[in-house]
Symmetry: C3
Subunit: 109 residues, 3 copies
C-alpha cells in the first residue's frame, strides 16, 4: 500500500478531488494556506493499493499540470481609470508536487 | 519507529492531544482549515516506537470515533422567530483517517 | 530517496526556505496555522537523495534551533499607562520537529 501526498494549487483542488472520487480514490484534504484571503496550496493525501498508484498519478497530471492562463491585470491605483484599457497577461498556473511513500497501514474510525 | 498521521475534526483535537500527552506520546499539530471562520480538520503527526502504535491507535479511536450528536439548527432568517421552535437534529461528528508510515528517524532541535 | 518533514515556527520559515534553496534543496511549504491572526507552525517537505539528508538537517538546525529572545511584553490594559515601564522578558523561540521518511518516488507536474 502507498500514501500519495500531492501539493497542488487551491484552484485545482475541487476538480482533482472530484476526479479522484470518480476513480474510487479516497482523498483526505489538508488545510490550505490563508483561506479566502490569499491564494494558496492544498495538500491531498491518498492511500491506495500499489497497483493503482499510476492511475492516481494520471488523474493528478490531467487535472493539475502547469499551464498558461490569460488573466486581466488589476487596474493601476490612481491614474486615469477612464483611459486605462487592461491588457490580459499570461501567467503560469497549476502544477503539482507529489510524493509517493510506502505505508504500513491505513485505518478509519 | 513509525509515523502516525491522523486527520481528525477540529472539535476532537484538544481532547485527543491531551489524551495522547497523558499516554506520553509526542504530537505535532499541523494547521487546521480556515481557523475560526470554518470548521475544519486538524492533522496530528505522532512519532512512536513500533510497540506503541496500537496504544496510540486505541487513544485515537476512543477520542475521535464517528458518533451522532444532537445539534440545535440555526433559526430560519426572516419568518416569525417568536413562533419558531427549533427542533434539534442528529448529525454525525468525529471520525479519523489514520496513516501509519515507516520512519527512518525523528529529530528535534 | 528520502522525504524530510520539518515542522518549524512561522518566524523561521522564510530564513530556512532561503537557506535550503541556496543549498539546492527543493522545499514544499504547507499551510501555517491561523494566517496573520495567530503565530503558528509551518510545515516544510523536502525530497532529497539519501546522501544529502545530513546536509539538510544541518541547515534546519542552523536556522531553527530553540533559542532565547528578549521580548517587550504587552502593556497591561487599563492601569496607568504613563507610569508603566515595560520590562523585556526572555522567551524561548524557534525549534524544529523533523521526521525522515523513506520515499518511493517524487514527481512534479
Ligand atoms: Ni486557500
Ligand atoms: Ni479549524
Ligand atoms: Ni502563520
Amino acid at each position: 500500500m502507498k500514501l500519495i501526498i500531492a501539493v497542488i494549487q487551491d484552484k485545482d483542488s475541487n476538480r482533482l478531488t472530484d476526479a479522484l472520487g470518480q476513480g474510487n480514490f479516497k482523498t483526505t484534504k489538508l488545510a490550505t494556506t490563508g483561506g479566502f484571503l490569499k491564494e494558496g496550496n492544498t495538500t491531498l493525501m491518498i492511500g491506495c493499493e500499489d497497483q493503482y498508484v499510476d492511475d492516481a498519478l494520471d488523474i493528478i497530471r490531467d487535472n493539475c499540470s502547469k499551464r498558461e492562463q490569460m488573466v486581466a491585470p488589476i487596474s493601476p491605483m490612481g491614474g486615469n481609470a477612464d483611459s486605462y484599457i487592461p491588457k490580459p497577461v499570461k501567467v503560469e498556473v497549476g502544477g503539482a508536487t507529489v510524493f509517493i511513500l510506502p505505508i504500513e497501514s491505513f485505518v478509519q474510525f
